[in-house]
């Protein structure tokens, strides 16, 4: 079976289980772009009769409230039923746009004992764009099949002889194997092994077996763990082999030290490892995990009355700057009509008092994000990397006070890497920064390219990006990865011009021992400010940056 076919087969297994026990398994994340293939999957889930949610859904729709028009008409209280009032299956479309507030509310519903099921349709394009981790952590499956759907693909419904998953017995060893396996793959959340156990039970239940078998455990681990894995377990016997995901290498004689105490551990590890996403080694934090890079940080929001995503309206006064929410105002006034009418029997029309006025509010994100592109090449590493780190830390302290976001890109060797997407989380930033490695060539062009991509992304999210590049300026790796100094300098210049064309505010800090004419040229190309800081310490650097940014 080809890889695409087997991934579709896994998707079918997931769907089959979901159809069989939606309340027990709680749902899945389906990460696909809207396409006929995804429609095939949602069609397969049709028997669940899912209610559709969107990311701007109001609390009233979710949890119910007073149906004002019906109440007024009937002259007695009539409540609107919320989606989550009874057990239901919800389909959240555009889950990658779902904010932490809605995610928290949905997660709360999933945690309850009502047996709700949530299918999150994640259309994220970039790894950073993903369904909120609060949800993906609670949902066992991550369905993201590769390639086109096989022609004969379909979901076989479970037979009628199935039993309830909770009636399946699990040996204590099985639970242990799953728990140990989760730690082997660096999965911190304890929900993962619990969900895997549920999946294993469901597998056995569908086949009407009394106990969970080894195959069930393997399948369950293979479905629940791969997208959550944050590291690949080392193989004790082949240290030189750097890419372990190879299902065909069955090494019977040896086991990693961590896997020794797992019953059938090696087989389980293999089962999961074979399914690890390809980029787990490259990025070490794959999409959709609980520790995804995609953390939006706290996402500083600003509530305004002009633009952005609408928020529930609030009581307020019309001061000429805000806008009235007419419907909400009428709703607020409606209950009072009988009482007010009694006081003013002669007045005509609706009786509206200033206290009824509701004002519109919008949520707006337009914060600054500081994108640090740090040169971690061999030439810079020795002398200045620690200073650069120190400077970023100090700036982070200021950014924290100013509620700015910070992103971190490092470039060295033959590539640039996004170490930290825009975030305000101090915890994450400190972790990433401490682990910043150094050495290799200076792919300045790649660093600038990565920074401009990130800046574009941030701008599309409504942030105002500012690029701060710290380098010693000896670009020697071209965009195509070749070690060609002339080409590298040209590429760096082109990227710098691109930055200027896109109109990003930028700042170039020369950390070389002597100021470089080439770098000051480069900053002109980028329309950036240039700061030469021979022998700067972290504090001097911070002072310079703050001064430059305050213009």
């Amino acid at each position: 079976m080809s890889e695409a076919e087997s991934s579709w087969a896994r998707a079918a297994t997931c769907l089959r289980m979901l159809l069989f026990a939606p309340d027990y398994l709680a749902g899945a994340v389906i990460r696909m772009r809207a396409a006929p293939d995804r429609d095939a999957i949602t069609d397969a889930l049709h028997p669940l009769a899912a209610r559709k949610l969107h990311t701007t859904i109001s609390d009233e729709q979710l949890f119910g409230g007073i149906d004002l028009s019906a109440t007024l008409g009937a002259n007695q209280l009539i409540e609107k039923k919320g989606i989550f009032l009874a057990r239901c299956t919800a389909l959240l479309s555009m889950a990658e746009r779902c904010g932490p507030e809605l995610a928290a509310k949905l997660a709360h519903q999933l945690d309850g004992d009502r047996g709700h099921c949530l299918i999150a349709l994640d259309e994220g394009a970039d790894p950073e764009e993903a369904a909120p981790p609060a949800l993906s952590d609670r949902l066992p499956f991550h369905i993201a099949p590769d390639g086109r759907r096989p022609v004969d693909w379909r979901v076989v419904p479970a037979g009628t002889h199935a039993r309830h998953p909770q009636d399946v017995t699990v040996a204590p060893d099985d639970a242990m194997a799953l728990a140990v396996l989760a730690t082997t793959f660096g999965i911190d959340s304890l929900r993962a092994p619990l969900l895997a156990l549920r999946v294993a039970r469901t597998l056995a239940a569908i086949d009407d077996r009394e106990a969970v078998s080894q195959t069930d455990l393997e399948t369950a681990a293979g479905l629940v763990y791969p997208h959550r894995a944050t590291r690949v377990p080392e193989e004790a016997d082949s240290p030189e082999q750097s890419t372990p995901p190879d299902s065909s290498s069955h090494d019977d004689m040896s086991e990693g030290s961590q896997t020794k105490d797992i019953p059938h551990g090696d087989m389980l590890v293999d089962a999961v490892r074979a399914l690890l996403p390809d980029d787990v080694l490259a990025r070490l934090v794959p999409a959709g995990t609980t520790r995804a890079l995609g953390g939006k940080g706290a996402g500083q929001k600003r509530k305004g009355n002009r633009r952005g995503r609408p928020l529930p309206s609030r009581p307020g006064r019309l001061d000429g700057r805000n806008r009235i929410d007419l419907v909400a105002t009428l709703r607020a006034a409606a209950p009072w009509q009988p009482i007010r009418r009694r006081v003013q029997p002669k007045a005509s029309g609706l009786l509206i008092r200033p206290s009824d006025i509701r004002v519109k509010r919008y949520e707006d994100r337009s914060d600054r994000v500081l994108i640090f592109a740090v040169d971690a090449s061999g030439s810079a590493a020795v002398a200045r990397l620690n200073e650069a780190k120190g400077a970023v830390e100090l700036l982070l302290a200021q950014a924290y006070a100013a509620r700015d976001h910070v992103a971190l890109i490092s470039f060295r060797g033959i590539g640039a890497e996004l170490l930290l997407p825009p975030t305000r989380s101090l915890v994450q930033t400190k972790r990433r920064l401490a682990n910043l490695p150094g050495g290799g060539g200076t792919p300045l062009a790649m660093g600038l390219q990565e920074a401009s991509v990130l800046a574009l992304q941030s701008r599309s999210k409504g942030l105002t990006p500012t690029i701060v590049a710290l380098t010693d300026g000896r670009a020697n790796i071209a965009l195509d990865g070749s070690a060609n100094r002339a080409q590298a300098t040209d590429d760096a210049e082109r990227m710098a011009q691109l930055l200027r064309l896109q109109g990003f505010q930028a700042l170039l800090i020369d950390t070389g021992a002597r100021p470089q004419a080439a770098l000051s040229d480069l900053s002109r190309h980028a329309g950036a400010q240039y700061l030469a800081l021979p022998r700067a310490n972290a504090h001097a650097l911070t002072g310079a940056v703050s001064a430059a940014l305050e213009v």
Binding site: P100, R314, L394, Y400
Partner: protein
């Protein structure tokens, strides 16, 4: 699963459990904030807390759970005035809650159908004499937070709007939980929580396995599991009740008071709330352990949770504030 996961069945997380027990012994400590990664059992522990709390005596129909008829607010239209025993209220404040639902508002049903002006009490009224639990507290809307701060401080909820003028007691213990990666909490709100604990996923494999086993037993073998741990929970509850009785008699040597002050000065914690909470926490711990007076060990055990969230935030400190507290405690107390 109508019953929550039992408190005594929670594996590990000693800090979190200790903090919860301490506020149950002395509600005056002022609540707990639990911050930690996903899937560490934060909300499980808070929901389990309800089973540990001793029941309260209250007027049956009173909307604010008053102990005597005389204490019931005058706007309440009382039905039965019988004094009944009820479990301590643990009220969930959902994230999407509107101002109306939190503080109470006009009773729309009566206004619409009978044209009467009546007050419908909100969550704050129901939480009086009990606990108010906010999951994902760092995502709460600012205006609700402001409201809560005000009420938590004054112990009274004042509603002056929509032609209503109502006040009622709202003394409750705030319990919050959240994930620091999703946003920070304002220092003013942080300070309102007496104790704060950081929880992490256990690193010990045996501990993790035990968590999985118990959770699985809870789901699949519910009755047997519950009957075992309900008895365990009852033991903890008895210990809490005994500690409450003993609490008033706990002696606090002057040396301990000095230690408290020295600790807080060394840490540079804002305000005096740190000292007070530290002392109350240590007394509650001494009472829970059946001691007659507060000992330095009690201070040592309580200090991280009582002080770590009151320090000025230092973004450059790699280790985090808990480690800082532990370090200073070692320096000061030896």
């Amino acid at each position: 699963m109508t019953q929550p996961f039992p408190f005594s069945a929670i594996v590990g997380q000693a800090d979190m459990k200790q903090a919860m027990i301490l506020t149950a012994v002395d509600p005056g400590i002022g609540g707990v904030l639990v911050f930690g990664d996903r899937g560490t059992g934060k909300s499980t522990a808070v929901r389990a807390l309800a089973a540990l709390l001793p029941p309260i005596r209250m007027v049956e129909s009173c909307p604010v759970n008053a102990p005597k008829t005389a204490d019931c607010p005058d706007w309440a239209e009382l039905g039965s005035k019988k004094i009944v025993t009820r479990p301590t209220p643990v009220i969930d404040l959902p994230l999407g809650a509107t101002e109306d639902r939190v503080v109470g508002a006009l009773d729309i049903e009566r206004a619409l159908t009978r044209g009467e002006k009546a007050f419908e009490p909100g969550l704050l009224a129901r939480a009086n004499r009990g606990y108010l639990y906010i999951d994902e507290v760092n995502l709460l809307e600012d205006h609700i937070v402001d409201l809560l701060l005000d009420v938590a401080q004054s112990g009274e909820n004042v509603v002056e709007r929509e032609g209503l003028s109502i006040r009622h007691p709202a003394r409750f213990v705030l319990v919050g939980s959240g994930n620091p990666e999703e946003g920070e909490l304002r220092p003013q709100l942080l300070d309102r929580f007496g104790l704060s604990v950081d929880v992490r996923s256990p690193n010990d494999v045996a501990e993790r396995v035990e968590v999985i086993k118990r959770r699985d037993a809870f789901e699949s073998d519910h009755t047997a599991f519950m009957s075992h741990y309900t008895a365990e929970d009852a033991k903890v509850r008895d210990a809490i009740l005994k500690a409450r009785k003993r609490l008033a008699k706990i002696a606090t040597p002057d040396a301990i008071l000095e230690d408290c002050a020295t600790l807080c000065i060394a840490l540079g914690s804002d305000g005096l709330r740190g000292e007070l909470t530290l002392l109350r926490g240590a007394r509650a711990l001494a009472a829970y352990h059946g001691k007659r007076k507060v000992h330095r060990d009690h201070l040592r055990a309580v200090a991280p949770s009582a002080l770590s969230h009151r320090l000025r935030r230092d973004p450059l400190d790699e280790a985090g504030s808990t480690t800082r507290v532990v370090r200073v405690v070692e320096e000061v107390l030896g």
